[in-house]
Amino acid sequence: MPTTVPTTLEMREISIAFPGVQALDRVDFSTSTGLAHALVGANGAGKSTLMKVLAGAYSHYSGTISIGGKRVAIKSPRDAKAQGIQVVYQEVDTALVPYLSVAENVMLDELVNGMQGRFLVDWSAVRTRAGAALEPLGLALDLEVPVSQLTLAQKQMVLIARALSRSCRFLVLDEPTAPLSGAETADLFRALRDLMARDLGVIFISHRIPEVKRLCDEITVLRDGRRVARERSSAMSAADIVEQMLGRRLSEPAPPSGARAQGGGFEVTGLTDHEKVFDVDLRVGAGEIVGLAGLVGAGKTELCKALFGASRASCREARLGGRPYRIVDPCRAVRQGVALVPEERRREGVLVDESVATNLTAASLASFCSGALVRAGEVRRAAAGMIANLGIRTPHARQIVANLSGGNQQKVAVGKWLLADALLYVFDEPTKGIDVGAKRDMFDLMKRLAAGGKSILYASCDFPELLGITSRIYVLYDGRVVRELVTAKTTEEEILSYATGGR
């Protein structure tokens, strides 16, 4: 094999702003083919935005991009692909056509854009070229199998093969290992190293510091839209990386939440959903707010749903309010006194086409009924009371929820459970996408519930928020609780270090 001269990629002083946010502020980034370069940063640091600039998703950035020392203009995805830049995004299923074969999915770009007026598909060529693209990945896949039958790891390989089927000099992988098992990750890394030996440049976005250290030669750390570090990965310890991700700024001291564990409450051991949650033990005292910290993909949502019986989950033992708690399905979870405020508000938390009143009483409708008949007057009164109580901004209780702001929709999703009067409240990312004022209201509400003797489990990837309100925090990594921390004695750095797989 001839030794090739590595091609360099340089992004200089890249800045981009969106309404209200300076997403990237004069960021420099450089790497070259034959290397793996990690791009790390906390949620919202600008990693994805930077890579989208490189992929041509935006045209309104400033700064320059050069490849092999020559300036190139990348203003559209087509430009990026012409320069040999291919991106594999995190949500693999959105990029695949499930009932087409592996060969067709690998060659999809070609079949769509490369036909040049030809009318018939040359199947033997498609198969040959798809096989050639899959070959360096060391993956024995039947080309005729529909993609819907593949595992997540195999689907990811199909997408990587698709990227390689076009001219590809730089391959950007956005959180590729989040859904993968340890063995699958090892396979992926082996394939990537082979490709790097054939002069491919890999840009690897990840939250998982140990993996980054294992695969990558160089690391760029972003924080709040700025580049804060660029080092050889051997020169940075995991602790250094975490420190750079957060900056030296210490987290604000956590105010005592006034919550103290009392008797009763909620307790579970050996909670497992056989997919994303394994052998989790949790304890949330009555009147206590307990945090569940974890990065995207750590299994927080799955854990919350498992508790609620919304997935096929089982546990060794569980008790709620002094009585045994059985995990069967959401309907029985509600009856036993568990409430879930789900992460996907619009899809799972509220009925967007229904009125505020209907939504608020959705979980407790039976208590507003005589026999099967709904007492409409009481529903109206209860809804009006809850609207006032939570400060939901709506002209009237008959307003359709779709017309409310995100924060007010969230209040409706929570208010539904206040009327249902549960014992354990599970909040999954309740502050996602709502404004500061609504966030404060949400925290006040949690404190009020805790003061009333309820147990609160609060799952979030926003660690400062967790530090501000909880008394204890469980840190989740890869579906397991890796650490239980007492909030008063911990720091954001410590949580992040455990959440990224540190020991």
């Binding site: 609620f308 009925l351 979980a363």
Partner: protein, 345 residues
């Protein structure tokens, strides 16, 4: 400069305000049309047919229309129940045929009374509804496909049961004897005015009350609106989808019984003709009063629209073979209104 600027600004604002007002006006008119379009259309049709024909507005003709739509309406209210949980029941026509066969056979072949016959028919429908629910809720076959399959199954069961023929009073049985039973007076009355109209009105009012005033009805809307949110609110969605298919089958069965009484015999596939009209009526009903959901009153109005059209078109001598064009066009119009609204907002 300053005053001029201010003037320009003021003018601009006035213009903006006016434009907004116009937009709001257009929006309002559209809203109004969306909510009451079906009723307005019915009104216009009635006026039109009243003017161009002699007998259309005669009380006897209006009663005629109500009688003609009663079977469709009852079947369509059943369809609206399956639509309410976000499902769909294509098998209602076959279920009506089955009920027709069962009710007549119990009366004529077995010589039993009206009540046992009607109950036997409705019980048979509960069974087939349970089969639909089993396929859709338990085995997770998509509703449209499952009920397409059962459309054939139930149709075949009904035909096999009647040995592929019709059942009539005094028919000759296989052993050469004459069928022992006859149609009772009570049974005959079901298909006559005013009973048939009363049955329809009661069915519509009951189903609408169920949707509006009972928690079960509200739960069904929740399941149909957003199954995941309903499930995570603790609504047992599987159970409500099962109830909906049972309900759908029972109302289709009731329609079948009315049909049997109306024609006084069991005919092969008599019910299948009602499927498409019933589905159309239920869909037209979505928009009534701006509810945007399947509902019984809307369904009733939808089938009145179809009935008025059919009756009026006959009276103005539109040939029967061209009538489907008009019916289809009206359905397309009603659905356009419903879906433009959904995407518009």
């Amino acid at each position: 400069m300053q005053p001029a600027d201010g003037e320009v600004q003021a003018k601009r604002m006035v213009a903006k305000g006016r434009a907004a007002g116009q937009r709001l006006g257009a929006q309002g008119a559209f809203q109004f049309l969306y909510r009451w379009g079906t009723l307005i259309t019915i009104g216009l049709l009635v006026i039109f047919f009243g003017l161009v024909t002699d007998g259309f507005l005669a009380p006897s003709n209006l009663v005629n229309i109500l009688r003609a739509i009663s079977i469709v309406t009852v079947i369509a209210t059943g369809v609206s129940i399956s639509l309410a949980v976000g499902g769909f029941d294509l098998s209602v026509g076959s279920v009506a045929s089955l009920a027709d066969a069962v009710v007549i056979s119990v009366l004529i072949w077995w010589g039993r009374g009206t009540a046992p016959a009607v109950f036997a028919a409705l019980f048979a429908c509960l069974l087939v509804g349970a089969f639909n629910a089993f396929l859709i809720v338990r085995l997770r076959v998509p509703d449209m496909l499952a009920t397409l399959a059962t459309l054939f199954i139930f149709q075949g069961v009904a035909m096999t049961y009647t040995h592929g023929g019709s059942i009539t009073a005094n028919m000759m049985l296989e052993d050469g004897s004459t069928a022992p039973g006859r149609l009772t007076a009570a049974f005959n009355a079901i298909g006559q005015v005013p009973t048939i109209i009363m049955v329809m009105v009661v069915a519509v009012v009951l189903v609408q009350a169920f949707f509006s005033f009972t928690k079960h009805g509200r739960y069904m809307y929740m399941v149909g609106g957003n199954p995941e949110a309903a499930r995570l609110s603790g609504v047992p969605i599987g159970r409500y989808r099962t109830y909906a298919y049972l309900g759908s089958a029972v109302f289709a069965g009731l329609g079948g019984v009315m049909l049997a009484s109306r024609i006084g015999s069991s005919q092969v596939n008599a019910g299948s003709a009602y499927l498409m009209d019933a589905v159309a009526a239920a869909y037209i009903g979505y928009s009534l009063g701006g509810s945007g959901k399947p509902n019984a009153f809307g369904t009733f109005i939808g089938s009145i629209l179809i009935g008025v059209l059919q009756n009026g078109l006959v009276m103005v001598s539109v040939p029967y073979y061209a009538m489907d064009i008009v019916k289809g066009a009206v359905l397309a119009l009603a659905l356009t209104l419903t879906y433009v609204k959904k995407h518009g907002s």
